[in-house]
């Protein structure tokens, strides 16, 4: 049977890995190739790279980064950030990416999911959804722009539509939990797991080894993503995997 996946996420700004809260107060974490290689060494199952570069020459820089990483690191690579057209997808896939992650552009133009899936296959298209609870209504909506812009789409409804358009996988971040280190949003992933039948990656809230155990034991997610706790050495991927193994959860 398939192993549960542990996935570090790297925010790439101008060719460097950075980390901040909601894309502000960015701290330099290091060189993407070196960091990717060290995650491979620790046993990462996949890597996600998000282009957060704000400048106009961004696309070429990011493409070069993807190319450099794919020469050194041999595991599935998902890339996202600012992808708006099928041509953007094609360039990144040619550079060495295996999967394309769509977020704001898919919400603005859901047909982009269908176009990408038809050209490259469903397995290639990941739809990333940033979910936040509306403080007034208490309902969960999809947000864009790092959680700053609310959309009118209910998260679960959008997830279902994305899958029906051809998304082969969902990367769902709980903005409520992100940065809190209080654990993954179990209720959200339970609800999602019942709503769609594609693999779901949980993101946001990981702070302890037990949080990873909880999300795999209590929900249907097949992958868990984290950034800061791995970047700043609070725990290694090997630590997470030994803990999961102790609980009888199959990992690589």
């Amino acid at each position: 049977m398939l192993a549960k996946r542990i996935i570090p996420c790297l925010d790439v700004d101008n060719g460097r890995v950075k980390k901040g809260v909601n894309f502000i107060n960015l701290v330099d974490v290091g060189d993407p190739v070196q960091i990717s290689a060290s995650y491979e060494e620790q046993g990462a199952d996949e890597l996600v790279f998000l282009d957060i570069t704000a400048t106009t020459e961004r696309r070429d820089t990011f493409k070069d980064v993807v190319m450099d990483i794919s020469k050194e690191v041999f595991m599935p690579l998902t890339v996202g950030g600012g992808i708006r057209t099928v041509e953007d997808m094609q360039h990144l896939l040619q550079a060495g990416a295996d999967k394309i992650s769509l977020n704001s552009a898919a919400l603005a133009n859901p047909e982009l999911i269908r176009e990408g899936a038809q050209k490259f296959g469903n397995q290639c298209i990941v739809v990333a959804i940033d979910v936040k609870t509306d403080p007034v209504t208490g309902r969960c909506y999809a947000y864009t722009h790092g959680g700053r812009k609310k959309t009118e789409r209910l998260a679960i409804e959008w997830a279902k539509e994305a899958v029906s358009l051809g998304a082969g996988e969902l990367l769902v971040t709980s903005m409520d939990k992100d940065g809190t280190k209080s654990g993954f949003d179990i209720d959200l992933y339970r609800e999602l797991g019942d709503a769609v039948d594609v693999p779901i990656i949980a993101s946001g809230g990981a702070g302890t080894l037990q949080h990873f155990v909880d999300v795999f034991e209590q929900t249907k997610v097949t992958g868990a993503l984290a950034a800061s706790i791995f970047h700043f050495g609070e725990m290694t991927i090997s630590d997470v995997k030994s803990e999961l193994r102790k609980h009888g959860i199959s990992v690589r």
Binding site: L2, D45, S70, F74, P76, V198, T222
Partner: protein, 203 residues
């Protein structure tokens, strides 16, 4: 020199990068002369069986690949490239394959409650312990992405992965080898498998 068969297969660049990382020279080619004079041949592939066979026919590569097998030049099919080694596939109607390993390619059963495609890291269990790949693959996880799988006699199956059914991970017959998973995406295990194939091309 290892020849990677050029037929717009999709995952070619990442396969080339993996060999480059191992320090092995490869050439991407559809030239029969180059292919038949190489030390080893790799048939990559992502996508649909029929479209791939059509391109191989169009580029007059079907007979070339059959000659590769007859001449005992080690041949490695990867993912769809592995499926093409068999007699036929039922993907979008019955399509004839290369017929280098007896067997058929069929859809993974949809009624097992498992997600299709079979996508992710799955564990290889060795069935043929005399294979050159046996020690490297034994109980190791490799990265799979596919919706169809090979059905063939046990004698051609080197490893299987459990996905409700036994999915052949590595298959082989004489000097013809196939990997359903992506060795070029399977971290150090994948690289070690490719290295083992390269050693095999040296005689």
């Amino acid at each position: 020199m290892i020849a990677i068969v050029d037929y717009d297969a999709g995952n070619t660049f990442n396969v080339q990068k993996a060999f480059a990382h191992l320090g092995v020279d490869t050439v991407l080619t559809a030239d029969p002369e180059v292919i038949l004079n190489s030390d080893g041949v790799v048939l990559p592939g992502v996508g649909a069986f029929k479209a791939a066979m059509d391109t191989l026919v169009e580029r007059k590569l079907v007979d070339v690949l059959k000659q590769v097998a007859e001449k005992n030049i080690p041949l490695l099919g990867i993912c769809l490239g592995m499926q093409l080694l068999f007699d036929s596939s039922t993907e979008y109607g019955l399509t004839e394959g290369l017929g280098l390993i007896p067997g058929t390619v069929e859809a993974l059963p949809a009624d097992l409650g498992l997600m299709i495609p079979h996508m992710g890291w799955n564990q290889n269990l060795v069935k043929n312990h005399s294979s050159i790949f046996a020690d490297v693959a034994d109980r190791e996880y490799t990265y799979f992405v596919h919706s169809y799988y090979a059905k063939c006699d046990d004698q051609y199956i080197t490893t299987t992965a459990d996905y409700g059914v036994d999915v052949p991970g590595i298959v082989e017959r004489d000097s013809v080898y196939g990997m359903q998973f992506h060795p070029e995406k399977s971290a150090h295990v994948g690289l070690n498998l490719l290295r083992t194939f390269v050693e095999r091309t040296k005689g």
